[in-house]
Subunit: 196 residues, 2 copies
């Protein structure tokens, strides 16, 4: 069972490399077999349909983008100020832009899901679970702002990442500075609360 | 010459329908010929390469998403308040979500450009021109905020549109309300200035 899980992760990682290099158009079960150097048919055995394969890439992206335990721990230990929330968001953007292929793959999957209802269902579950965990973390840490602010930050950071990782609308980038401005404006009017 | 221009627009519109229905993977010169019901080879005559074709779709999107002249006119006539900026942004989001295929196509093109440097160059020129016009319009109308605020709004609205038009992270949507919150927070601390 543990071996199966390791193999699934290995195949999903190979799928993410194919998606980054070739886009959704190049992602086939066979292309993943080749990329992972496994016998033809292996990826089909693990992911029985194109939607199952694409959906598994979605969950794998969030596993790989999860913050390091020490980052999560430090947010819990330090005072839940605006500065702390800003540093946490800056860490998310720094981590994400160090592995551009993961967030680019997630954008590809979200677009592909518009045309594939079965993928949309799998991906919606993944995105909503991640968003719920994010919101709970924010509230439990007592960081400024509530569910509404977390939603606004999600939109703003997604749009900033789209600009950083694809063709930019203005080419003027200072990611930590932009994140600070967004956090100041979106969370700045809210008070910190005692951690839950 | 005018006929050529009309034919280019007609082919670009057919290309946008193909892109929306099938994604970048389905967009070929032949598929556009078929969609536009023109003789095979016509699209290749107008757009000599895949990058030229994709790049032309990018400019066409902005032509089709341009605000109605009466909207632009009313922004110039009314006082340049936060309410006015909010209504203008709400109109952008309402117009965009009424034609989801256009903004979805633009997201597809931005992702495709990551893998195609020649497309990235064409698309960058289109995006930067549009962004410059937006910023000039905002400043000339004397709306609250400056170039930095326009950039932050661009990111936030792009992320909101990604959420509205693809799989949502939380499925809770009230687009005019979300736009109002974003405008309040991003522009709210800035004063209106006399129109230039």
């Amino acid at each position: 069972m543990a071996q199966n899980l390791a193999r699934r992760e290995e195949l999903a990682d190979a799928g993410l490399r194919v998606l980054a290099a070739q886009g959704a158009r190049g992602l086939t079960h066979r292309a993943v077999d080749r990329e992972a150097r496994v016998p033809q048919g292996t990826t089909s055995n693990y992911f029985g349909s194109r939607d199952a394969l694409l959906g598994a890439l979605g969950s794998r992206i969030f596993e790989r983008l999860a913050p390091a335990p020490e980052v999560l721990g430090s947010v819990g230990r330090l005072p839940p100020t605006l500065e702390q929330a800003t540093a946490y968001l800056q860490d998310i953007v720094a981590r994400t832009t160090r592995h551009p292929e993961l967030t680019l793959a997630l954008f590809e999957l979200r677009l592909e899901a518009v045309r594939r209802p079965a993928l949309a269902e799998i991906l919606r579950a993944t995105l909503e679970r991640n968003y719920t965990l994010d919101t709970e973390f924010h509230l439990q840490a007592g960081l400024p702002g509530g569910a509404q602010e977390v939603a606004l930050l999600h939109y703003a950071v997604d749009g900033l990442l789209l600009d950083l990782l694809t063709v930019s609308v203005n080419g003027r980038h200072d990611p930590p500075g932009m994140v600070r401005e967004l956090a100041n404006r979106i969370l700045g009017a809210s008070r910190s609360r005692p951690p839950a």
